[in-house]
């Protein structure tokens, strides 16, 4: 396998380039469409790569008339708040799980794993009722049920990371009179910072991408996040592809930045638990 032939190497690179091309092509195509006036999106010019009359009209429409930035803002609020409290709660519990003996620990871990496995749809009805009765529909409180999709994996990733930290470090701290809080915040957290950061990124992406909960709980456009708001752009009778593609480009940019900046952490989070070391 080490001394592979040149032809296999070329073939390998061919496959990789094809793979990358397929990955990128849809984005490339919507980017083109977003600059086309609606007359060029249909008909003979639909498949033309360079628009005859490139326009920024689609962008000004979605940015200023359809107010897509409001939903980007909502997504930021919802994802950031979710990330903050999920990381806090997950790190506290992961610390105890990785450091202390207690009855029912195996059960707790099985429960957390179970929660990450069951179909999310099972919580939607009762949570809708709960929010309706408490008058929380169309608010940012939607971040609380986001925990069902983010918290289990956050705890899971953190436990794995905390277990890698040698006990000796915190034992010294405890001898010096550090409390449990102090040990977690001053010793464990800084040492496990990469793991904490990975957890935060994964939580943020999961919250950013969540559709079902916001679609159900926040029917008011004022509180809708990106995945829901962008789908509200297609109306019952016609689909304004120019505007939709422009909006897509706008909302994909934050994701793109996150991927470019944090790809190492993302891959670490993705493969966590799936790979035994």
């Amino acid at each position: 396998m080490i001394g592979t032939k040149k032809s296999t190497k070329i073939l390998s690179w061919g496959v990789i380039i094809l793979f990358l091309a397929i990955n990128i092509f849809p984005f490339f195509w919507i980017l083109i469409t977003s600059f086309k006036p609606s007359s060029e999106i249909f008909g003979a010019t639909a498949f033309q790569i360079i628009p005859n009359n490139p326009t920024l009209q689609n962008y000004t429409k979605v940015l200023f008339e359809k107010n897509i930035l409001r939903s980007v803002f909502n997504s930021f609020v919802v994802s950031s708040v979710t990330t903050l409290y999920v990381v806090l709660v997950a790190s506290m519990s992961a610390y105890i799980i990785s450091r202390f003996r207690f009855r029912g620990k195996a059960l707790l871990m099985a429960l957390i794993l179970g929660v990450s496995m069951f179909p999310q749809m099972i919580t939607v009805g009762p949570i809708f009722n709960m929010f309706y009765q408490m008058g929380l529909l169309n608010t940012y409180w939607v971040v609380l049920p986001y925990s069902t999709i983010t918290l289990p994996s956050a705890v899971w990733i953190m436990v794995t990371h905390f277990r890698r930290i040698p006990l000796s470090i915190e034992e010294a701290a405890r001898i010096d009179g550090c409390s449990t809080w102090g040990t977690l915040w001053r010793i464990i957290f800084p040492v496990a910072a990469p793991g904490v950061f990975t957890t935060a990124i994964m939580t943020f992406i999961a919250a950013w991408n969540e559709y079902l909960l916001t679609a159900t709980l926040n029917s008011d456009a004022y509180y809708q996040t990106v995945p829901v708001a962008i789908n509200a752009l297609r109306t019952q009778f016609e689909i304004l592809w120019g505007e939709i593609t422009a909006a897509t480009i706008v909302v994909v940019i934050p994701t793109l930045l996150i991927v470019l900046l944090f790809q190492k952490q993302i891959v670490a989070g993705m493969t966590n638990g799936a790979v035994k070391e």
């Binding site: 009762p126 559709y211 939709i244 993705m270 790979v275």
Partner: protein, 404 residues
């Protein structure tokens, strides 16, 4: 040394326990409870879980109020004797309905109380009939409305809607449910198989071609990282009957009869949703498997090569067995993910292709059938449990890492 947990440390996991209890356990238990009721949120008589009979005073009051109001109109078209009788009826209703004003909570009634209300409704009905029959030639304004109001008044009595296992029985006879189950299973099996095969091939290639891996990885992450709702929309455009580039290419190479096929026929929709899912998730699968591949000791390959093992042989004898743990975990989580597919189908096919999640959502949120919709969801829950059980117990997937 691992210490025993004390109460102080218990406080550290308390937030987790509370959140899981409120937003995961409680909703799951509630969903199970909903399944044994004929619970419909958009129908007043079924809009809660009623174990015993109860009475809706607000509904009763509202109907009484309408009758009194209408009677004023009716009094204008009859003679003095009729006016007096109508006034008498009106007074009686007003007196009877007074205690129920401003009561919004449903209440449980005692037997005699319920009978009293029932007989009141019956008496009013009779007396109204008498008046209407007495003046066959008078042009009443609301003669046709009265029976409707009286009937609606009857509905202030709420029967218990506990329905036992009938929602589950209905499930077994519901062709739409079995269809959705079939679509979900098909989607899950085909998507995950394709993703696995393609992901494995890519992982093997990437494992050898280390140069430029960063770029490949970044690009591969993008489809995975964008919201499914957005990628579904992107693909909706790619498959569009008129200006969809993918559907037009497929039609040009005779893969499909016409570009419209992709989003308007059953198999077109199955194909398009699978392609979209494979596009979005293969990179994820490839990176997972690549991570698994990289843990294999390269020395093993060298010894295999020295022993004269061929590429194919090495793959099946060394790579696959050593990767079994990572493969099983990756497959399990991907299958569960594919099984609950919702946003992709709901957006890409506008819900025409019904997975179990889509069907349950339409039943519950669309039509308000919480009881029956919950039964569909509980069936999904059971399927997920079976899949997880098979993977963990039969195939031996190590989902729970070694403790301590």
């Amino acid at each position: 040394m691992v210490k025993r947990m004390t109460f102080k440390q218990f406080l550290f996991i308390l937030p987790l326990l509370v959140i899981i209890a409120v937003f995961s356990i409680y909703p799951i238990v509630s969903s199970f409870v909903y399944t044994v009721f004929d619970y419909r949120i958009y129908d007043q008589q079924y809009s809660s879980l009623y174990v015993s009979s109860s009475f809706n005073p607000a509904r009763f009051y509202e109907n009484c109020d309408y009758i009194v109001y209408y009677l004023q109109d009716e009094a204008t078209v009859v003679d003095e004797a009729g006016k007096a009788e109508i006034q008498a009826i009106s007074n009686e209703i007003s007196a009877f309905m007074a205690p129920y004003q401003n009561q919004t909570q449903n209440q449980t009634l005692s037997g005699p109380e319920a009978e009293k209300i029932e007989s009141f409704i019956a008496t009013i009905g009779q007396r109204l009939n008498t008046v209407y029959n007495q003046y066959p030639n008078a042009e009443f304004y609301h003669q046709e409305d009265m029976p409707i109001l009286l009937e609606d008044m009857q509905k202030s009595f709420i029967q218990p809607n506990f329905s036992g296992i009938s929602n589950y029985q209905r499930l077994f006879k519901d062709a739409r449910f079995w269809g959705a189950l079939g679509i979900t299973a098909l989607f899950m099996v085909v998507s995950v198989s394709l993703e696995f095969v393609l992901g494995m091939a890519l992982a093997l290639i990437m494992n050898k071609a280390i140069k430029g891996i960063g770029l490949v990885r970044t690009t591969a992450l993008i489809p995975w990282a964008i919201p499914t709702a957005v990628s579904a929309l992107i693909w909706m455009y790619m498959y569009d009957g008129q200006s969809g580039v993918v559907s037009n290419i497929f039609a040009a190479v005779q893969l499909i009869p016409a570009p419209e096929t992709m989003l308007s026929t059953f198999w077109g929709m199955v194909g398009s949703s699978i392609i979209s899912d494979v596009w979005k998730t293969t990179p994820y699968m490839a990176l997972l498997l690549l991570a698994g591949l990289q843990t294999i000791d390269r020395g093993l390959y060298e010894s295999a090569a020295i022993d004269g093992s061929g590429t194919v042989n090495t793959f099946f004898r060394i790579t696959l067995p050593l990767m079994k743990p990572s493969i099983l975990v990756a497959l399990l989580f991907r299958m569960l993910d594919a099984f609950r597919v919702y946003d992709l189908l709901y957006i890409l096919t506008r819900g025409s292709l019904e997975s179990l999640s889509v069907y349950a959502y339409k039943l519950m949120i669309g039509q308000g059938y919480y009881g029956y919709g919950s039964a569909v969801v509980v069936a999904m829950f059971a399927c997920v449990a079976i899949i997880a059980f098979v993977f963990v117990k039969v195939l031996g997937a190590e989902v729970v890492g070694n403790d301590e």
